[in-house]
Amino acid sequence: MAKWIPLWLHKLSSPPTFYAFAGKVRPWAIALALILGVIALYGALVLAPPDYQQGDDYRIIFIHVPSAWMSLFIYAVMGVSAFIALVWRIKLAEVVAMESAPIGAAFTFITLVTGSLWGERMWGTWWTWDARLTSELVLLFLYLGVIGLYHSFEDRRQGARAAAFLAIIGIINVPIVHFSVQWWNTLHQGSTVNLFGKSHIATDMLWPLLTMMVATKAYYVASLCGRVRTDLLALEGGKDWVRKIAAAEKSR
């Protein structure tokens, strides 16, 4: 590996450098998210044909499934950064882990609500204690637990360490959510889209789904950049670089 890579990473993990970096990334990420999101919505609501069994109700899939993917993806990012934060005590990793939690909780909440709306007509029930639904609900509680633990300490860094510990333990739940439809006999259907191998979905339904997946990923990057920037300002309030920003924003 080239020598400059660790050096670049090391520099990037310094709060003022990352603050500036995230400020540059954020507008591009949100622009990408909005453009792809609008294209995906048009494909999902207008271009894709109704399902031959579910009619137009299946269109919930275009937000339900990308949100569910994000709920797991963000948890994985949070878990890995929490691990880095605990082992190497890198402040930026702590902030990334803690600021990922609210975004992940938002996507998990969306997954549960849209799934409930979908299930009411197709299964005839808003909720059932089946393996997929229950493990996804546990995922929401893990996110809320991480957020709550982080804010329940007087010392923010101590809170971050406790919450990071919980985040790492909770990683066990990620494969459980993913494989629940194979391991247990569930009401929830198996996966429709397969990364390797054949997907069980028509192309004009698949592309809006995949476009929405990229859009939600880009949204996560944009939202995380904004949240990390804000949290760095709070965490580094005594430092000169933050005070310069505070003074500059007043004169505007």
Partner: protein, 71 residues
């Protein structure tokens, strides 16, 4: 796709399920987007307050009394 806007809104009879789903998706993400912006403004406002108090204290130390001198 039948082409009329009414039938688009009707969602084949599933309007009460499809539209709330999309509304929840957009509203939750909008809230997630706005929350840090408000927090950022509050953090910087509080920090400016701290900075102002600190510079007032330092002016006091230099001799110019921060309070009117006792008679």
């Amino acid at each position: 796709m039948s082409g009329s806007f009414e039938s688009f809104l009707a969602m084949g009879g599933y309007a009460a399920y499809v539209w709330p789903s999309y509304a929840v998706f957009l509203l939750v993400l909008l809230a997630d987007w706005l929350a840090p912006a408000f927090r950022r403004r509050r953090i910087l406002r509080e920090l400016r307050g701290r900075m102002a108090r600190q510079s007032a204290r330092e002016r006091g130390k230099d001799g110019a009394a921060p309070f009117p001198p006792a008679p």
